[in-house]
C-alpha cells in the first residue's frame, strides 16, 4: 500500500538539501520500525517519491513524500512514531493512504503552491506602499519577468501563473498562490522581485523570509492540497 506523508521543514533544517532530506526520511522510517516495501535485487531500496524540491533556505509547512509499505498502523500512531524520530525542525503533520495508480505520484501531481512572505524581523509591511502596490501590480495586463530554466533565460509573462497575491489584514504577511511543478512553475522570489521592481524598491534593503505553506494539485479553480487526496487510516 502507498502512504503520503506531510511534514514541515523549518529553522536550520532549511539548509538541508532535498537529497539529504530523502536520506533522512529513509533512516527515520527504519528507526520508527515502519514496515516499508523494498525493491528486489542485491541492493534493496525503499520506494519513495518526493514532491517538488524546496529551494534551499526556504522553510515549509507543506512538504510531501509518498512511500510504499507492506502494512501500516493507524494514521495517528504512524504520526506519533515518526515524530519520535524527527529532529526539532521537522514535524510530521499527516499520514494518509493513497491509491496506488501511477497518476497519483506526488512528484507529478503538483500544479500549484501557496507561499507566505514575511519580514525577517516579524514587522509590518508599509501599508501605503504594499496594500495598494500589490493591487496595482496585479492590475497590469502582463507581468514580464526573466524566467530562468535549466537551459536558458526567457522574458515571459508570469501573470497567468500568479493565481492570487495579496497582503494580510495585519500587514505582516504577503500571500502568494502560484503555479508550481511541471507546468508554469513560478519561483516565489521571482514574483517578489518583480513586485519590488515594479514598486521601484530596492529588494536588497528588505530582509524577507519566505515559507511554502502548501502544495496543490489539479486545475487552479479546483485546487486540492496533497494531503486531501487519500484517506486517513483508523
Amino acid at each position: 500500500m502507498r502512504l503520503r506523508v506531510k511534514f514541515t521543514k523549518t529553522g536550520p533544517m532549511r539548509f538541508t538539501s532535498h537529497l539529504d532530506i530523502m536520506r533522512y526520511f529513509q533512516k527515520a522510517l527504519r528507526r520508527a520500525d515502519i514496515n516499508v516495501s523494498l525493491s528486489e535485487g542485491f541492493s534493496p531500496h525503499m520506494l519513495m517519491s518526493f514532491a517538488l524540491p524546496l529551494p534551499l533556505g526556504m522553510s515549509s509547512t507543506g512538504e510531501y513524500f509518498d512511500v510504499d509499505v507492506k502494512d501500516a498502523p493507524a494514521s495517528d500512531e504512524m504520526i506519533r512514531r515518526l515524530n519520535e524520530q524527527m529532529c526539532e525542525d521537522i514535524t510530521v503533520l499527516s499520514v494518509i493512504k493513497i491509491p496506488e495508480d501511477k497518476a497519483n505520484k506526488c512528484m507529478s501531481l503538483v500544479t500549484g503552491a501557496d507561499y507566505s512572505v514575511t519580514l525577517a524581523d516579524g514587522g509590518k509591511f508599509d501599508e501605503e506602499i504594499f496594500a495598494d502596490g500589490i493591487q496595482r501590480f496585479m492590475a497590469q495586463d502582463k507581468i514580464m519577468a526573466v524566467k530562468k530554466t535549466k537551459r536558458n533565460e526567457e522574458l515571459t509573462d508570469i501573470k497567468p501563473f500568479i493565481y492570487s497575491f495579496y497582503i494580510s489584514e495585519d500587514l505582516k504577511t504577503i500571500h502568494l498562490r502560484a503555479g508550481a511543478g511541471s507546468v508554469g512553475h513560478l519561483r516565489s522570489d521571482l514574483v517578489m522581485n518583480s513586485l519590488f521592481e515594479f514598486l521601484g524598491l530596492d529588494a536588497e534593503k528588505y530582509e524577507l523570509s519566505s515559507q511554502r505553506d502548501e502544495l496543490l494539485s489539479g486545475k487552479p479553480e479546483h485546487f486540492v492540497p496533497l494531503y486531501k487526496m487519500g484517506e486517513v487510516m483508523y
Binding site: 536550520p12 539548509f15 538539501s17 539529504d20 522510517l29 527504519r30 528507526r31 523494498l38 534551499l56 525542525d89
Partner: protein, 621 residues
C-alpha cells in the same frame, strides 16, 4: 530554536550549508549552565570526512556520558566559507551550540594523517587562538591532539598544549578531573599542564626540549623540569571484549564519506607487515566478543536507521569468529534489507562464498593488496601473501563470475630493484592468464585488472623507520618503468595502471619522521595559502615550495637520508610497547628477506605484552 552562527545569506552562498548547522540526529545538546567542562572536538578536514571517523564518534559519546562535560564537534570550514569567515571576522564555532570555539575549556584535534597539518592551523587561526602554544593566555582553550599522528607529535609540538598518546577511552576522565581541581585551586595554565603531563598517555611538549647535533639529527631529548616523566607510554583498552561503543552515533544529514553503520570488531593486528604503522602502534590485537557484537548490531540498526553496515578492523579476515559473525549479520540484514560491505577481507574460498551471498557479483570488483610484486619483496615487507594464493583466489573468483580485479602495490620499498618493480606487471599478466584459462563459456565477458601504486612513505614505529625514502624523480621513474612494462604485456588491453602523486608523498614523508624544527615550515605553508592538502583540487604545490625556500628546510634530510641504527629519533620518548630493539631486529631481517610469524602462529616477543591483554595472552593454539 537554536541561533545559527552564520547568517542566512552566508549559508546560502556556501557549498553544502548543512555542514555547519548541526542538530543532527543523536547529536547531544546540554545546557551551558549544567556543565563545567566544554570540549570542542575538531576534525581538521571536511565535515563529510570527519563525520566518518569512528574514533570521533566513540569519544564524543564517551565525553557526553560524563557528568558535567559537554563535547561538541568542529570541522574545517571548506575554502568557500573559510574565505567569508576571514573577510567578515566570523569566529569558528562548534556545530551543537554554535558558540565560538574560543570560549571552550578544551579544543581537541583529531590527527589522522600528516596532510591535515595546515588545517590544524586553520582551526586555531579561525578560532582566534594563538597558533603557538607559548603565546596562549589563561583564557584560551587547552589545545590537545590525539590520533595516529600523535605517535610522532614533534612536528606539531609548538602548536599544542597537550598530546594524548593512545586510545581515548583510558585517560580523559582523569584529565577532566585534574582540570576541575586545577580550576578550583586557581592554578595557572602552566601548573595545570604540568599536572596533566603526569597522567598516563599525556604528553605536554612545553616541558620537553630537543637538542640537536650539528648535522641536524637529534642529540638528546627529554624533560626540562624534574616533575614530568621522561617517557610517555601509550594507553590502550586492554580488556576490549566488552569495551563500550557508541550506541547512538551521530547521523549526519549531509552524506558522509562513510554513510553506514560501523562495527568495530577488533583493534590491532596480528600480522606485523614491516611498513605498516597501524600494525605496530595498535598492538596487541584485541577482539570484541561475538555476543557483544550481536547486541551492537541490533542496537545500531534500531538507533541509526542506516541501510548499510560495514566491519571495521585492520584485517577482518583474522577475526577468529568471523564465520559466526557473518552468519548472524547476513541473517539479520536480509530480514531488514540492509547491505553488508566487507572491506579488508582476504580473497579465498570462504570470503568469496560470503561475498556471493551479499553482493551483486557482476558489479563488484575484488581487491587484493599484495603491496609488492615479487615474492622476495613480499618477504622483505613480511606480507604473508604468496603468488599461489593470489592466483588461486583469482581463479576461484573468476569461476564464480567476477571479472574485475583491483590490486594495490607500493613503489619505493626498501631494497627494491627494477626487477621487483616489473614483477608487479608480471603478476597482473599472470592474473589475466588465469582468467583466460577458464573455458570461454564460463567467462563473464572480458577481464579488467586495475593496478594502483602508492609511493612508500617510511613511518615512525615501524621496521622501516630507518629506511631512506625515494625522491620524487626516483618514484616517477619507477612508475614510468612499470607503466612501460604493463604496456608490453600480452594482455595489456585488460590492464590499467594508476599511481598516486609523488609530491604529496614526499611531504607526508617529511612530517611522518619529522622533528620540532618543522613548525616553521607548516606555518609558512599555511601563511602561503596551503589548506586541505590531502585534496587533489586544493593541494597548493607552490605554497609548499615557497615554504621550503623561506625556511631553508631540506625535505631530503627527513626523507631520503638513511638513518644509522643508533640514531635517536624524535619519537623515541614515546613507548608503544613494541620495543625499538624488536623493530631493529625486524629491519635487519627485512634486509635478508626473512619473514616473521604472526601473533597467532606464535609470539615474537615484540614487547606489547606489557599491556596485559589481547592476543599475547591467548592460549597457545
Amino acid at each position: 530554536m537554536r541561533k545559527l552562527a552564520l547568517p542566512d545569506d552566508v549559508l546560502l552562498k556556501v557549498e553544502k550549508p548543512g555542514r555547519y548547522t548541526g542538530n543532527e540526529i543523536n547529536s547531544v545538546m546540554k545546557s551551558k549552565d549544567e556543565v563545567d567542562i566544554r570540549f570542542a572536538f575538531a576534525f581538521p578536514d571536511t565535515y563529510e570526512v570527519g563525520m566518518s571517523n569512528l574514533g570521533v564518534q566513540i569519544l564524543y559519546d564517551m565525553f557526553n556520558s560524563f557528568e558535567g562535560v559537554w563535547c561538541e564537534r568542529v570541522y574545517s570550514p571548506w575554502i568557500d566559507l573559510d574565505k567569508i569567515m576571514r573577510e567578515k571576522n566570523i569566529p569558528l564555532f562548534a556545530c551543537e551550540s554554535q558558540d565560538p570555539v574560543k570560549c571552550f575549556d578544551f579544543l581537541g584535534i583529531s590527527l589522522q594523517y600528516e596532510m591535515c597539518y595546515t588545517n590544524v592551523l586553520q582551526i586555531l587561526d579561525l578560532s582566534g587562538i594563538p597558533l603557538y602554544a607559548k603565546y596562549r593566555s589563561e583564557d584560551d582553550p587547552i589545545v590537545i591532539g590525539g590520533g595516529s599522528c600523535a605517535y610522532n607529535p614533534e612536528p606539531l609540538a609548538s602548536f599544542f598544549d597537550l598530546f594524548y598518546i593512545g586510545e581515548g577511552e583510558i585517560s580523559y576522565k582523569e584529565l577532566f578531573e585534574t582540570y576541575r581541581e586545577a580550576k578550583k585551586a586557581g592554578l595557572s595554565r602552566m601548573e595545570f599542564l604540568k599536572k596533566a603531563a603526569n597522567i598516563d598517555g599525556i604528553y605536554a611538549p612545553a616541558f620537553y626540549e630537543p637538542e640537536y647535533n650539528e648535522d641536524g639529527t637529534l642529540k638528546a631529548f627529554g624533560p626540562v623540569t624534574e616533575d614530568v616523566p621522561a617517557t610517555v607510554r601509550k594507553v590502550i583498552v586492554s580488556d576490549f571484549k566488552n569495551a563500550p561503543y557508541p550506541k547512538k552515533p551521530v547521523i549526519p544529514y549531509v552524506q558522509a564519506v562513510m554513510d553506514r553503520m560501523v562495527l568495530e570488531i577488533q583493534r590491532g593486528c596480528i600480522r606485523g607487515c614491516r611498513f605498516c604503522q597501524a600494525g605496530y602502534i595498535y598492538r596487541p590485537l584485541r577482539e570484541r566478543s561475538l555476543d557483544e557484537m550481536k547486541e551492537m548490531v541490533r542496537e545500531l540498526i534500531y538507533n541509526t536507521g542506516y541501510d548499510e553496515i560495514s566491519l571495521n578492523s585492520l584485517s577482518s579476515s583474522d577475526y577468529e569468529k568471523l564465520p559466526e559473525l557473518l552468519d548472524y549479520l547476513i541473517g539479520i540484514c536480509n530480514e531488514k534489507g540492509i547491505n553488508i560491505s566487507l572491506p579488508s577481507l582476504r580473497i579465498d574460498a570462504f570470503s568469496l562464498d560470503v561475498m556471493n551471498k551479499i553482493q551483486d557479483v557482476k558489479k563488484s570488483s575484488l581487491t587484493f593488496a599484495p603491496e609488492a610484486g615479487s615474492q622476495r619483496m613480499r618477504d622483505v615487507i613480511n606480507k604473508n601473501l604468496s603468488e599461489e594464493s593470489i592466483l588461486g583466489g583469482a581463479l576461484e573468483a573468476f569461476k564464480g563470475g567476477w571479472n574485475k580485479v583491483k590490486l594495490y602495490f607500493m613503489l619505493g620499498l626498501p631494497g627494491e630493484t627494477d626487477e621487483d618493480v616489473k614483477e608487479i606487471s608480471h603478476l597482473c599478466q599472470k592474473i589475466a592468464e588465469t582468467y583466460y584459462e577458464i573455458p570461454k563459456e564460463e567467462r563473464n565477458g572480458k577481464v579488467a585488472i586495475t593496478a594502483s601504486t602508492s609511493f612508500f612513505v617510511p613511518k615512525p614505529f615501524t621496521a622501516f623507520q630507518w629506511a631512506p625514502m625515494n625522491k620524487e624523480d626516483e618514484f616517477l621513474e619507477k612508475a614510468r618503468m612499470l607503466k612501460n612494462e604493463i604496456r608490453s604485456e600480452v594482455n595489456q588491453r585488460s590492464m590499467s595502471y594508476r599511481y598516486h602523486d609523488a609530491e604529496v608523498s614526499v611531504l607526508e614523508g617529511v612530517f611522518a619522521r619529522g622533528d620540532r624544527k618543522l613548525d616553521k615550515l607548516i606555518e609558512a605553508a599555511y601563511r602561503n595559502g596551503a589548506l586541505f592538502d590531502s585534496w587533489t583540487d586544493t593541494f597548493n604545490s607552490d605554497a609548499w615550495k615557497k615554504a621550503f625556500e623561506e625556511t631553508g628546510i631540506d625535505p631530503y634530510f627527513y626523507t631520503a637520508r638513511e638513518r644509522s641504527e643508533d640514531e635517536l629519533f624524535p619519537w623515541d620518548f614515546i613507548d608503544i610497547g613494541v620495543t625499538k630493539k624488536f623493530l631493529l631486529k625486524e629491519w635487519k631481517k627485512s634486509q635478508e628477506a626473512v619473514t616473521t610469524m604472526n601473533c597467532r602462529e606464535g609470539c615474537s616477543g615484540c614487547g606489547a605484552r606489557c599491556f596485559g591483554g589481547g592476543i599475547c595472552f591467548a592460549p597457545e593454539s
